[in-house]
């Protein structure tokens, strides 16, 4: 433990090799994530909740470097608190997404994290924003993380406009289940957060309760 040269002995960086997804429905949003955090080949945390609150009705889903993503979420949480006190009411989802985008863009060389911001506000209802690499775009649904590449075809084929709250939850669970089966860096349990005007509901779905697909 003593000696050795200095900076080149940096430990493997902890990444949230992950699957995250957010879907909008009429009146709210559903966010979902897996729970695996890896450092190189080892899983360092198999029950991490990657859905982080930014405000009462606004959540973000973390992916990329664990340190960068956690820090960005906490900084934006603080900034939103200050902002909502200044304007005297609950902040807009667009404001939260803009704050995340500002950090992502300004420090895009130094940080390696992608946050999907989703929530409900009084002005526009349920909204989902993607902030990859400093862009800001509103989408009906967004997926991210290493596991998302395996399910782009699935979500493109299965997404329909005008899904109900329950259908959205099922869509999110199906997507997570497929991605967690195929992606080595995603796994564990599934976390689900449903946000609407009245409440923010957090659920944990154990692997045995996830939907089952083809699996020899």
């Amino acid at each position: 433990m003593l000696g050795g040269a200095g900076p080149e002995l940096v430990t493997e960086e902890v990444k949230t090799g992950t699957t995250i997804i957010a879907v909008e429905f009429n009146g709210g949003v559903v966010l979902g994530s897996d729970s695996r955090v890896s450092a190189g080949d080892a899983v360092v945390n198999r029950v991490m909740n990657k859905l982080s609150p930014l405000h009462d009705r606004i959540y973000c889903a973390l992916s990329g470097s664990a340190a960068d993503a956690q820090t960005m979420a906490e900084v934006v949480n603080h900034q939103l608190d200050v902002h909502s006190i200044e304007i005297g009411e609950d902040p807009l989802v667009c404001s939260a997404a803009t704050l995340v985008k500002n950090i992502s863009y300004k420090y895009k060389e130094e940080l390696m994290a992608h946050l999907i911001v989703a929530g409900w506000d009084r002005k526009d209802g349920g909204q989902v924003f993607a902030t990859l690499n400093g862009l800001l775009t509103r989408l009906p649904f967004a997926i991210g993380g290493s596991g998302s590449f395996y399910v782009y075809g699935f979500v493109d084929a299965e997404y329909r406009k005008g899904m109900s709250r329950d259908e959205c939850q099922q869509f999110v669970l199906n997507t997570l289940s497929l991605a967690m089966t195929r992606d080595g860096s995603s796994g564990g349990v599934a976390f689900l957060v449903t946000i609407d005007q009245h409440s923010t509901e957090e659920k944990i779905i154990l692997p045995k309760h996830l939907p089952k697909f083809f699996n020899q």
Binding site: M1, G4, A5, P7, L9, T11, A67, E110
Partner: protein
């Protein structure tokens, strides 16, 4: 907010990053010559912690290695940050030790400032903000465990500044060996003796199954009543006693004949060399 450290900035005090540009140049020359750069070596340690019924139990091995040589057979890896918050460090020893000292000093100032005993969450936040600021160059992973007004808490913090809050954690090169013991036998709300035995077994798994960890098991038990540091709680690697004797007894081999030939020697020269004992 996220200051980017420029290696050419003049530093007085704190960490020095003079070698960063040299390392970057070396890494690019490696990729050109299509040979691999030296792989990051995990420095030897097994540290672990659990939350039990009345608080937290932290454990650590006691070996400090310098490359492949054991530099210290009985070093201390568990340090006090606040009266009821302790910290185990893994990674580069110097980084871990200095980080813990800086942390203890800042937490003491914060305590005096607020007039309240520190929260484990506050200690973790201070620590991770410092590690994040140094972008992983401070190569120390730490387990922070303690008891505060909100109860017992256990955090693991990684060199780049990410953290996890869990009921049991392991870090260091022996982490994989130790976590297997926890995954098998951990239960929520364990009793004190059962908890101590579990942490001891996890560290012992690291001591026996990981080359970088060894020597003794240190434990630290923290409850609402206070903290007790059990130095040398278990010594699973003490040298055993030899069961038998490997010396042949006199008379094992029979003596057939014995011949004595005296040498007649005369002293022809004598000289004295004084030894330089200064």
């Amino acid at each position: 907010m996220f200051p980017c450290l420029n290696p050419s900035d003049v530093q007085d005090g704190g960490f020095s990053f003079n070698n960063c540009s040299r390392n970057a140049a070396l890494e690019s020359s490696f990729s050109e010559s299509s040979s691999k750069p030296p792989k990051a070596r995990k420095t030897g340690t097994t540290i672990a912690g659990i939350v039990f019924k009345d608080g937290v139990i932290l454990g650590a091995d006691t070996r400090a290695t310098d490359d492949m040589v054991v530099a210290d057979k009985n070093c201390v890896k568990i340090h006090c940050i606040a009266p009821k918050i302790y910290c185990c460090g893994a990674g580069v020893a110097a980084d871990a030790q200095i980080t813990k000292q800086i942390l203890a000093s800042n937490v003491e100032l914060h305590t005096l400032n607020t007039g309240r005993p520190p929260l484990v969450a506050m200690v973790t936040r201070t620590l991770k903000q410092m590690l994040f600021r140094y972008r992983g160059q401070v190569n120390s992973s730490l387990i922070v465990g303690g008891v505060d007004v909100d109860g017992a808490h256990l955090y693991s913090v990684y060199p780049h500044g990410s953290y996890d809050k869990l009921p049991f954690v392991t870090l260091g090169s022996g982490a994989e060996a130790a976590v297997s013991v926890f995954e098998d036998r951990f239960k929520p709300n364990m009793e004190l003796e059962e908890g101590k035995q579990l942490v001891r077994d996890a560290i012992a798994a690291g001591i026996f199954c990981d080359l970088g960890s060894g020597s003794n098991v240190d434990l630290c038990v923290i409850t609402q009543a206070g903290a007790s540091f059990l130095r040398g709680f278990d010594k699973p690697t003490t040298k055993g006693r030899r069961e038998g004797s490997y010396m042949y007894k006199p008379g094992t081999t029979a003596v057939l004949t014995k011949t004595v030939t005296p040498f007649c020697l005369d002293v022809i020269d004598q000289s004295v060399h004084a030894m330089d004992t200064k």
